[in-house]
Subunit: 414 residues, 2 copies
Amino acid sequence: MKSLLEIGEAAKSAKRVLAVTDTEKRNAALLAIASGLRKDVKEILQANRLDLENGEKAGLSAALLDRLALDEARIEGICAGVEKVAALPDPVGRLLDRVTRPNGLRIDKVSVPIGTIAVIFEARPNVSADSAALCLKSGNAAILRGGKEAIHSNMALVNSMRSAVEDAGLPADCIQLVEDTSRQSANELMTLNGYVDLLIPRGGRGLIQAVVQNASVPVIETGAGTCHVYVDRAADLEMALNILDNAKTSRPSVCNACECVLVHREVAQAFLPAMAARLAAHNVEIRADEQARAILPQATAATQDDWGREYNDYILACRIVDDVAQAVEHIAQYGTGHSEAIVTADEQTAAYFLANVDAAAVYHNASTRFTDGGEFGLGAEIGISTQKLHARGPLGLNELTSYKYIVHGNGQIR
Amino acid sequence: MKSLLEIGEAAKSAKRVLAVTDTEKRNAALLAIASGLRKDVKEILQANRLDLENGEKAGLSAALLDRLALDEARIEGICAGVEKVAALPDPVGRLLDRVTRPNGLRIDKVSVPIGTIAVIFEARPNVSADSAALCLKSGNAAILRGGKEAIHSNMALVNSMRSAVEDAGLPADCIQLVEDTSRQSANELMTLNGYVDLLIPRGGRGLIQAVVQNASVPVIETGAGTCHVYVDRAADLEMALNILDNAKTSRPSVCNACECVLVHREVAQAFLPAMAARLAAHNVEIRADEQARAILPQATAATQDDWGREYNDYILACRIVDDVAQAVEHIAQYGTGHSEAIVTADEQTAAYFLANVDAAAVYHNASTRFTDGGEFGLGAEIGISTQKLHARGPLGLNELTSYKYIVHGNGQIR
């Protein structure tokens, strides 16, 4: 088994080759990956079966086993995803800016790969193929470190991808897996300064917080989302119902789902009973403040702990507010800077909300569920950033690049 | 004395006000700062005298005392700098991108302040005014933490700036100084997650490394520069002499100064003696490899330790290489990703160098000394990033912003 330092060195060599590889070559490697995975489907499913058996023995929950499981359809989905990435525009080599200075220097700002991107993830083996494809497309060497539950699946997937990349004339080390799944290997990866240019944790809040606390390499924090929908006094209540229902119940486990509704006092009497009736179809538990419970006595009493909570479940916190300013205040205090929506027909109120709420995405009359690389037209995403450095919101291919300044002179000195 | 947590909370309030303040108000505050500093020059110089006296007692070096010292001319320089920042274009509120999706959602990507920016610096008190001005212009709350040597000067400068900002109708807490200069306060600031959106260390390599190792908040690494000039076989040797001389001797203490010259074997015989003669005017010590010493016997013998070394002094490492590929290899191994130059008349060789060298700025036929916010036309800079995340090279006002997606709908659900 390679040490982390050896993996880092190998990535350093691979990234230098990748940095000067043209679009066609990287795309050919992606297509080779897709056909390689199709060819190796038997070996991959066999490895996956081993992980599933071990998982059952270890008593993993049914939900976790489902995330871990692969079948032919899921592998075909992975392959189609890789081919889709191949078809996207090349994020590398874009001329971002050009200036000619009074002294005649021409300064071009050009997008380049970041270098080596490490991804730490949990039980879902598709993340390895998915992340590797996005890194390869954007000219970055990938170091993948999945959870121990998926180690055999990941080894099979990564072996297949490495062969394909090599067959396509690129170094196999463009894609590497950390086979040591101990906590120590994760910690070493987080502090591999000089080798890892960017570390992206993809997983639950525990993983992300561990990475943020322990990493000394640059990190993009992803994922945590406590999203609010504010139903204003001037809201079209039918529209508000549709948006809230969609934001809460279309997929409660994801980070762009709504966790809390804030309702303007003047429409609470009309809106809350209709909301409760609508959400009853999904058995949504409503945890309401005292004022809302005066209207909805069947709701659970919210405690302080419910504000800012990410349930990822069919539970909705509910609070009555005096006006948009109080809604903004609540979000400032309890939001995670992910996605926040206002429903209102009043343009001025909407403008206030959109300007004053500090989040990656702010919505006027639309569901928070749209915060997604595909929905934003980015083609693909490697996660959703909730920090403000480098990239915010969905991380597409462009967000996996950096830039360099290329300066052309004819002897200028300063 | 406020605790770090209290400072963080105060910045959180101030940044929310700043985030929705218009250009005119922020510029008015900057102009108020400049006139305030001019008005308070006596108090500032008095405080500075105290720092200088303490510094002398503590046995600080003459160089450090010089960096610490203020006088009327230096304060006027600070004020002029602040006024220059006020005159620059507003980096906030730029429409970076706009798409309308097939479902009718209009998605605007708009630049916004990062939030709270903390700056850790050393003995130069002008850094506090300079950093505060750039943060204020870009709508960010600033938390400044200077070295203990400059504490009285920094307190005087920051008190003056806070009054001016308040007079201009903005919260004084837009600019805060950490008055506790203990190591512990620095460590607390580096781990003030949830309050500090970006931490920028401005100082020597020791400070920067301490921040990179210990910070859990997002950091931009700045400053370390081991820059190379490669003199190709096809170089105009007169041009190469001028560029190298400028890169090495115009200001050896800065990070964009050249530390190592790489000379193509075929021109070494012609170039090295001329180089030695030219650099003798500044008594530059040349530390050469064996092959170069065969031509320049008077040079010191370089040791392994000289490759990649940042002298910040009148010392130059010197190595003969076989070709541009070996030059690129040397830079990949020993460079810090700051600024690298090639001198050549051969366009193909230049293109190879510019594509294969991974640095914030790569130069063809120009001095590395141009890597600077002013020289790049950014108007001002808060440092030079040597990492690839968020921003690379000179950090101007645009680099002190993030963005948010503002999404306009009419009831869209997913």
